[in-house]
Symmetry: C2
Subunit: 130 residues, 2 copies
C-alpha cells in the first residue's frame, strides 16, 4: 500500500499530482526520514502510468531536497535540509498564500473561516518535528 492515487484527465499533470502527494505524506509525518519510497517502476505499475512520469516526479522532489536517491537501492525520505534562506522560504510561502486568500475571499469566506481552515489542516500534522 502506497496511499498515492492520481486522477487522469485532471487539469494538473500526473507528475505534479505525485509530487504533491509525496510532499503531503512527508509533511504529515506519514513518511519518516529514511523511509524508502516505492520504486520508480513499481509505483508506475501501480498507478498505471509510465515509469518516466514517476521518475520526473521523483526528480523534482530530489531537487527540492525532500528525498535522497541511491543508485541501485532506491529513493528515501531525506533529512530536512535548509536549501533556502529564511527570507526565501517566507517569500515562497507568501507567493502561495496570496492566491489562496484571493480565491477564498472571492468565494465568500470570511477571514476567520480561512484561518480556521488553515489551522485545521495544520492540526493534522504530527508533532514529531522537533
Amino acid at each position: 500500500m502506497v496511499a498515492i492515487h492520481i486522477t487522469t484527465g485532471s487539469n494538473t499533470p500526473i507528475f505534479q499530482q505525485i509530487v504533491a502527494q509525496v510532499r503531503a505524506a512527508i509533511a504529515s509525518g506519514r513518511w519518516k526520514v529514511g523511509d524508502p519510497l516505492p520504486s520508480v517502476r513499481s509505483l508506475a505499475k501501480e498507478l498505471v502510468v509510465n515509469h518516466n512520469t514517476v521518475a520526473k516526479a521523483y526528480k523534482q522532489l530530489l531537487q527540492d531536497g525532500l528525498i535522497d536517491s541511491h543508485q541501485g537501492r532506491g529513493y528515501f525520505v531525506a533529512k530536512r535540509r535548509e536549501i533556502y534562506t529564511k527570507a526565501e522560504r517566507v517569500r515562497r510561502v507568501r507567493k502561495l498564500v496570496q492566491p489562496l486568500v484571493s480565491e477564498a475571499i472571492t468565494l465568500g469566506l470570511s477571514s476567520d473561516e480561512i484561518v480556521s481552515l488553515l489551522k485545521q489542516e495544520l492540526g493534522k500534522l504530527r508533532q514529531s518535528d522537533e
Copy 2:
C-alpha cells in the same frame, strides 16, 4: 494604469496570471462592484500579448461569476453571487490549503509562522465587504 503585470517565461500560463491578478484586485477591494475592466484589446496591447489570451482569462473570470460581460460595452466587476453551496466553497478552499500546508511545512516553516503569514495577507484586504 491597470496594475496588472505578467511574467513571460514563467511556469504559469499568461492567462492564469491575469486571472489571478484580477481576482486579487477584486478580493482586495481595489476594484469595486461595477468598475469596468480594461478592454480585451487594450489590456492585450498593454501587456503585449494576444487579445485571445486576455479573452481567455476574462472568460474564466466570467465563468467564476467574478465579472459580468456586456457585448459592446465591456467587462465589469460583478456583484458577489453565491454560485457554490457553503460546503462546496469550503471544499474548494481546503483543496488549496492542503498543498500550501505541505509545501510550507517541508520548507521548514512553523505552524505559527504559516498562520502569521496568512493573517498578514488577510490584513491587506479592505473591510469594505458588507
